[in-house]
Point group: C2
Chain length 259, copies 2
């Protein structure tokens, strides 16, 4: 492994997928952990099929929800086409968890003691093009004076390190909580159990994409975390998507009323 | 600051310069700290003119020496066109010294508490294209089955934190010391005072480029550090370049004899 083209070959295709690129809606959806696809040259990193299919490789159901939201709101969706086991695009290159040596109950042998050339190549192949594409989109919208709300869509495992999680939909934010506050406000007592910055929060480093793209540009933003047992099939994914669509609409109204 | 194009605008030009791109020689010269040029949008990072001209911004004289070596050996030279104050291309993105908050006696106000978006943009604008270009060159030479010795060319300040340095030419290496050993062997008792891994060594993180490009490819390599008072004018630069040319020739002969 030496350069970005050793990580992603021509056969692998582009690292970034863009759905609804001409969407005129207000949202910009981002899905960093959309896929558990491994680049052909990456092998299995020493992991078995169970780990490679599990939440350590991707956020099951997150892309399905993000796609439906992208359609509902006629808004662009930018997603990473490869597994976060190779590079976790919601982490900066300076973070050890960008290419983690372990995740939850799994050691990741293929990420142990990575050589500088390997770290470099993964960063260049996966992280840089992904965030470049988002930055480009944000800049284009800014140039068109188009309002933007940045929404990253994730899912989390119901049982983490043996502990059951009760929250169903996490509404996560960093320093700018405007949209998150509106969603939590209108979502009280609804269909799903919502929580603020749960099961993760900004101190866990999960707001990297928001901190890269939304905060410096003053754009409203939120990170959505859906418990993945709710997204196990199309019916569940449809229900959660419909719920979030309605929640976002109500949130937008609330913001309109407050402004 | 948001994306790589906010760091380097069209007016700034490309981050990477390539001299003698069709050079058929055995060496691949690299100069990470060639220039003290600041991108137009970068301002002065809160530094005065003295600091901006000093060794914290660049390696004075290093590019002149590297250029002459590139000519002498008809070999490619890849150099970074912008100051290491913005991004030190001999450091990985995970290193705090990639965008240092202080260097020797200077605080660098414009590098304090950098936002993730700024760190990202600098990495994308300066580090990635630089090392991509080198990786491309290494891959092309490998495909042509062309022998390559990677040589990074640096200079160091004669007085560091008030302490005088006696070494004149440092011969630095990481795990692969084949070429460094040959140079130290043939250079004993010569015109300049040579030392091994002095004033820096691999534990100072200075062999990043070697570790990215030479070690994983099994290429012989060395990092040259010249005390910059010897490079204060063209005459000095010419003398050092002539000395290194002869040293490298003798080193190549020694390697030939040993193999």
């Amino acid at each position: 492994m030496l350069s970005r083209t050793d990580i992603l070959t021509v056969e692998d295709g582009e690292p970034v997928a863009v759905d609804n690129p001409d969407g005129a809606g207000r949202f910009l959806f981002i899905c960093e952990h959309a896929s558990r696809l491994m680049p052909r040259n990456a092998g299995n990193l020493g992991l078995g099929p169970e780990a490679l299919a599990s939440h350590i490789a991707w956020d099951p159901g997150a892309l399905a929800v993000a796609s439906q939201l992208s359609s509902e709101f006629d808004s662009v969706l930018i997603s990473q086409r490869f597994s976060r086991l190779i590079y976790d695009c919601n982490r900066p290159p300076e973070s050890p968890s960008a290419m983690p040596e372990a995740s939850e109950i799994y050691e990741i042998p293929g990420n142990k003691n990575l050589a500088p050339a390997e770290r470099y190549a993964r960063t260049a192949a996966l992280y840089i093009p992904f965030h470049d594409r988002i930055a480009q989109e944000v800049a284009a919208r800014k140039a068109r004076r188009q309002d933007t709300i940045v929404v990253t869509v994730h899912s989390f495992t119901p049982v983490y390190l043996g502990k059951q999680r009760d929250v169903e939909v996490g509404i996560l934010h960093d320093e700018d909580s405007r949209f998150a506050d509106a969603l939590l406000d209108v979502g009280k007592g609804g269909q799903y159990r919502l929580e603020r910055n749960d099961p993760y929060g900004p101190d866990d480093g999960v707001t990297h994409s928001l901190r890269l793209h939304a905060l410096p540009n003053g754009l409203m933003n939120v990170m959505i975390e859906v418990r993945n047992d709710l997204l196990a099939d199309e019916a569940g994914q449809g229900q959660v998507s419909a719920y979030l669509t309605s929640l976002f609409c109500d949130g937008l109204s609330r913001l309109g009323a407050a402004s």
